[in-house]
Assembly symmetry: C2
Homo-oligomer: 236 residues x 2
């Protein structure tokens, strides 16, 4: 049987998985809400973020109590400190899903996404949700190979983001400025969401291997623009 101490450590892990599931579901629903102009679903995502915030609070309180009471060292200390960071990533992902939902609500009853971008946004939303599902699996299994896969999936998100910019910068863009602004922000939300999911997975790699898989979150938006506008298809 596990002792109380390790049970607490486990429950931190459980909390992280629960957060990842909630924010994974949130980005899926938010994407549906914005594509279908579904106000009710959007409201649901917006309100649901409170639960994520509450989970983060509880998890932090638990982590700090555990640090104070159990004074973990070595691996256990790393687990607790890294969990704090992962919970921050997940909380932020929830915010980003909420932003997508808020945009859906703001434009209701109109659709924020023009029909020629529907497929791209759908793909970004699905990919974001898949990335978070994998991140949750990485938390559970501590599978380093799976964690490293997330970085490749993130390349796919960059490609989709690039596609979005290609549409925006196309001379034939006919949806006006407001939609351009909305699409720019949407692209940014999905891209950041994906970064946070990758970041969670990287932190698990750090826990398992003790090596930082490049701690700094990649955030390459301006370079994506460069890729589109300077030499298409190349990473500036």
């Amino acid at each position: 049987m596990r002792d109380a101490y390790h049970e607490e450590l486990d429950s931190i892990g459980d909390g992280l998985v629960e957060m990842a599931r909630l924010v994974g579901s949130a980005i899926g629903r938010a994407t549906t809400a914005i594509l279908d102009a579904d106000l009710k679903l959007a409201e649901h995502v917006i309100e649901g973020d409170q639960k994520v915030d509450q989970l983060q609070h509880d998890l932090e309180a638990l982590a700090i109590a555990l640090l104070a009471r159990q004074q973990p060292v070595a691996t256990d200390l790393r687990i607790v400190v890294t969990s704090l960071r992962m919970s921050a990533d997940l909380e932020r992902s929830g915010d980003l899903a909420q932003h997508v939902a808020k945009l859906a609500r703001l434009r209701y009853p109109e659709r924020a996404v023009p029909s020629d971008l529907h497929a791209t946004i759908l793909e970004m939303g699905q990919l974001a949700q898949r990335l978070m599902a994998k991140a949750a699996e990485v938390i559970i299994t501590k599978d380093v190979d799976l964690a490293l896969q997330l970085e490749q999936d993130d390349d796919e998100m960059d490609l989709l983001h690039r596609t979005l910019f290609q549409h925006l910068m196309d001379d034939r863009w006919k949806h006006g400025i407001e939609t351009a602004v909305d699409v720019t922000l949407l692209g940014r939300y999905y891209e950041r969401y994906a970064d946070h999911a990758v970041s969670v997975a990287k932190r698990v790699v750090y826990l398992v291997t003790g090596e930082h898989a490049d701690e700094i979150q990649p955030d390459v938006q301006p370079d994506i623009q460069a890729g589109v506008q300077a030499v298409p298809g190349t990473d500036a």
Copy 2:
């Protein structure tokens, strides 16, 4: 004389102040670079972010070593854990300054900001820098009143952000989609930068008072859009 333990705690504080100074300078320089289309200055900011990342790494290593070795409890434990979060805020602020600089570099030799938005972007850049300078002062003085002031300053940033959106959504906008995308992203970078500065100050409030001054970072961009497009001047 301070003992070695408290000297280490102090040096964490010093590291945070140093980070705040660097990212404060970075956002000032990045703003100049984008307004003047100054490639050299932009490059300087982009490269300078490595120093911020390095400081964050060092600071985290120090904090974790201190947790393991000294096993702080109560207030000291809170200081160390909160410092980890502040360093994450500051590192992210540095990234955002770097994004502004990258946009300057991407558009060089053109200017990314049209002349009728020059004053607004200048104000956003100056305000961001002031917010960070105050955040650094709050870290040093632990002045709760000053920390709460930052929230009011942040309202000013929201106003500027709203002004930016008003320009974008104005039917007379004549700068095309590419500039609209750039300005949308710039607005987001400054707004997020300000949020992180406010967040740093709030975390000091938590350290001093033990109370969360609302842990969740406000991030109200979609509502700012709503304010512009629905009923001007009201917060949706």
